[in-house]
């Protein structure tokens, strides 16, 4: 028996793809991914129509999808994150059917529960053997963890592994196992390594970012959560990384050993692991080469699936054991609702990813954002889109002060006692608008272009077209 199929062209036919079916992709190759485009081009050339694309995220490299949308090849999109290139066209109304946004936890939950069945999952694999055992840790296109691909591999009707590093059976350190895989397709390249992971992710040198990062670290230090066993997640943004660095200094000084660091893993979290700040790293996605090296060589650095990371219907998910998460926002309103789906002009340029999942799970959910970007204030009366409900957000850190959600009475007192600059979020908004002025209300279209599905499957908000 051989699972190896010569080309994507053959596998599309073999897998039984028909009009109206759903195909899925993971986003571990990020902006360097070739696989989604190669597969969709083949699907288009075989004359298939009305295909639904379920991808864990879509990046600017995937803009060829626009042509498939215009030609009727793709009529449905579901993703946890859509970058600005595609997002702008979707906001302009290119699709008949609204895009469905889920969270990184909600997506695998819906796949596992059968609410979003996948006909064929195409799994880009940096290394695979001839029977489909595969991993992201090895090969010229190594991306580290394959966390977002597990639900697709386990529950799709047909599973196709596409690799540019086919090795003899059996490969040893695999992530996704052969019993889930139907076909293996070797190709010349699955991605451009430059777009897959960054060489290094840098902490910010912007003084304003450093002020916010320092505030964030101080909030954590005085939250009562920073003690042995502490668990932490942060993003790869410059200010978030700087906050992690400041936090590391505090943990080292106080001799605190945390239990785990999680998330998109960067070299900075690896540094913290190696310095003894954490016992382990739980890794659903690697952001840089140092993280990829670490997950390959350090047994304390563990790959986890998106189900284990964040699914609300898993028997347990790691987000529920999380103490602190640092998150970003394009807008936050005076009820602490956060928008990470659209920019301030209403154009889609992101998505929840793990935002809502970690905010719901963590004991302390902190947003770091400047008071304004360019001339646009970040705190508004009402966000353009509720990506994460304000009830799950505890603190907003800006350079102009720290706003605590009024539900956290005790935390407010603790932070005030520590001498941190606590401000009311309404005051922060006024203070910002004294500098920027009050923006005019956006003209809103009358057509829903995207549905934002909350992590529990509820329709949380909708995004309208930008006229």
């Amino acid at each position: 028996m051989s699972k190896v199929v010569k080309s994507i062209k053959e596998v599309v036919a073999l897998a039984g793809l028909k009009d109206g079916m759903t195909v899925s992709f993971h986003h571990h190759l990020r902006n360097g991914d070739f696989v989604l485009n190669m597969v969709m081009e083949e699907i288009a050339s075989q004359g298939l129509k009305d295909i639904n694309v379920n991808a864990s995220s879509l990046f600017d490299v995937h803009t060829p999808l626009l042509e498939h949308i215009e030609n009727g090849v793709v009529t449905g999109i579901s993703a946890d994150y859509i970058a600005a290139g595609l997002g702008r066209a979707i906001s302009k109304g290119i699709m008949e059917k609204p895009v469905q946004f889920r969270t990184h936890g909600g997506r695998p939950s819906d796949i596992v529960q059968g609410r979003t069945p996948i006909d064929v999952a195409f799994i880009a694999a940096p290394t695979a053997d001839t029977m489909g055992n595969c991993s992201g840790k090895y090969g010229p296109s190594a991306c580290g963890s394959l966390g977002y691909a597990f639900a697709d591999a386990m529950f799709a009707k047909k599973v196709v592994v596409i690799t540019d590093n086919l090795v003899p059976y059996p490969m040893q350190d695999f992530s996704i196992s052969e019993d889930w895989v139907d076909y293996v397709v070797p190709v010349e390249a699955i991605g451009n390594p430059k777009g897959i992971v960054s060489g290094t992710t840098q902490i910010t040198r912007d003084p304003v970012g450093l002020v916010m990062a320092s505030h964030a670290a101080q909030v954590i230090a005085h939250s009562g959560l920073l003690k042995d066993g502490f668990s932490f997640q942060t993003g790869a943004g410059g200010a978030s990384l700087a906050a992690a660095k400041f936090l590391k200094d505090i943990m080292m000084e106080k001799g605190i050993q945390g239990s785990f660091g999680m998330g998109g893993i960067t070299g900075y979290l690896v540094d913290m692991l190696q310095a003894g700040c954490f016992r382990s790293l739980l890794d659903v996605q690697c952001f840089d080469l140092k993280a990829v090296e670490s997950i390959r060589t350090d047994p304390r650095h563990k790959e986890i699936s998106a189900m284990q990371y964040a699914s609300p219907t898993s028997r347990s998910a790691a987000v529920d054991s999380l103490d602190v998460v640092i998150l970003g926002a394009t807008e936050i309103d005076t009820d602490f609702n956060v928008n990470v789906h659209t920019d301030s002009n209403g154009f889609i340029m992101g998505g929840s990813g793990g935002h809502s999942d970690t905010a719901a799970g963590a004991k302390l959910s902190m947003i770091i954002a400047p008071m304004f970007r360019a001339r646009l204030p970040i705190v508004t009366d009402r966000v353009t889109c509720v990506s994460t409900p304000g009830s799950d957000i505890d603190v907003l850190v800006t350079q102009g002060g720290i706003a605590v959600n009024p539900k956290n009475v005790e935390l407010t007192q603790q932070l005030k006692a520590a001498g941190l600059p606590i401000v009311d979020i309404h005051e922060l908004k006024e203070k910002t608008e004294r500098i920027t002025g009050t923006p005019r209300k956006l003209p809103k279209g009358d057509r829903v272009v995207a549905e934002v599905i909350g992590r529990n499957g509820n329709l949380q908000d909708v995004i309208y077209n930008v006229p």
Partner: protein, 291 residues
């Protein structure tokens, strides 16, 4: 309290509007070296508007205007004075005459604005050999002078020596300025440490400046502000000792004694003055007595 003074380029709107968030006790809006001649007018307007519309709270606002040998300095004063800066930093001050010339013009503008004389203070920037030698005369030239400020980069060029991290080349200038300022009864501020990435260097340099007698230190990088603030803040031990001194003095008064000893050392007037300064600073910083 002016432990740290942070230079902000007058042509950088993002830094200007965030100036009050960077932790410095004072910001210095720079219209001089940071701004090219082609941008002088734009920076002047930008700084004027920043001062007009932004609330800097407890953060002092200082403006470095252009020197008197340029065509800009009067225009700078015309634009900035209505915004009531705490101080004007006057670059390349080499003689008392320089101070008197600027003082006369500021007085004229103050009068035209209906402001009380000496509302706006002057801080001569001493960065020439002549300036160092004339420092006492500069510091005592008019009541408007509130402090001296050492600028080591231009000074070392004038001295024809290399500027080094060890700063041996400015030892004389530093001590000379401190003595001149203290003799004239004004404050004195140290030159910035220019290696933004040398965390140990800034700590050593600020510690030396404090030990020599400087009131505070300027910085060209927000990254240095925290270190400077911490070096120029009293330690808990110093605050506690100051409390003890004041208690000992109170006790001596109560007992009708002229002199009193604390931990085997006589408490004299300078020690009391120092204790009062320390407590004033501790109060401003919200520091209380330790256990």
């Amino acid at each position: 309290m002016r432990r740290s003074m942070l230079f902000l380029p007058g042509n950088n709107p993002n830094l200007l509007i965030n100036g009050n968030c960077l932790g410095a006790d004072a910001v210095i809006f720079d219209l001089e070296d940071a701004v090219s001649p082609a941008e002088k007018d734009a920076a002047r307007i930008l700084v004027r508007n920043t001062m007009r519309y932004m609330d800097f709270g407890g953060c002092e606002r200082i403006v470095r205007i252009n020197s008197t040998d340029t065509p800009y300095w009067k225009l700078d004063i015309d634009a900035i004075l209505p915004q009531k800066p705490n101080l004007i930093l006057l670059p390349k001050t080499s003689s008392a005459q320089d101070v008197l010339e600027v003082d006369a013009y500021i007085t004229k503008v103050e009068e035209s604005l209906g402001m009380e004389r000496n509302t706006v203070g002057l801080m001569p920037l001493i960065e020439t050999a002549m300036g160092v030698e004339n420092s006492y005369l500069i510091a005592s030239a008019t009541k408007r002078v509130q402090a001296l400020f050492l600028g080591a980069e231009d000074l070392t060029a004038d001295l024809q020596c290399k500027r080094t991290k060890e700063s041996r080349e400015i030892e004389y200038a530093r001590t000379r300025l401190i003595v001149a300022a203290r003799a004239a009864g004004v404050e004195v501020y140290d030159t910035p440490f220019t290696d933004v990435n040398d965390d140990e260097g800034i700590l050593a340099d600020a510690t030396l400046a404090k030990a020599l007698g400087f009131t505070g230190k300027a910085s060209i990088s927000p990254r240095h502000v925290e270190v400077i603030n911490s070096v120029f803040s009293p330690t808990q031990k110093e605050v506690d000792y100051a409390y003890e001194v004041m208690e000992a003095i109170a006790l001596a008064k109560e007992q009708g004694k002229g002199a009193i000893a604390l931990h085997g050392k006589m408490i004299d007037a300078p020690i009391v003055t120092r204790a009062q300064q320390t407590l004033a600073m501790a109060q401003a910083l919200g520091m209380e007595r330790g256990n």
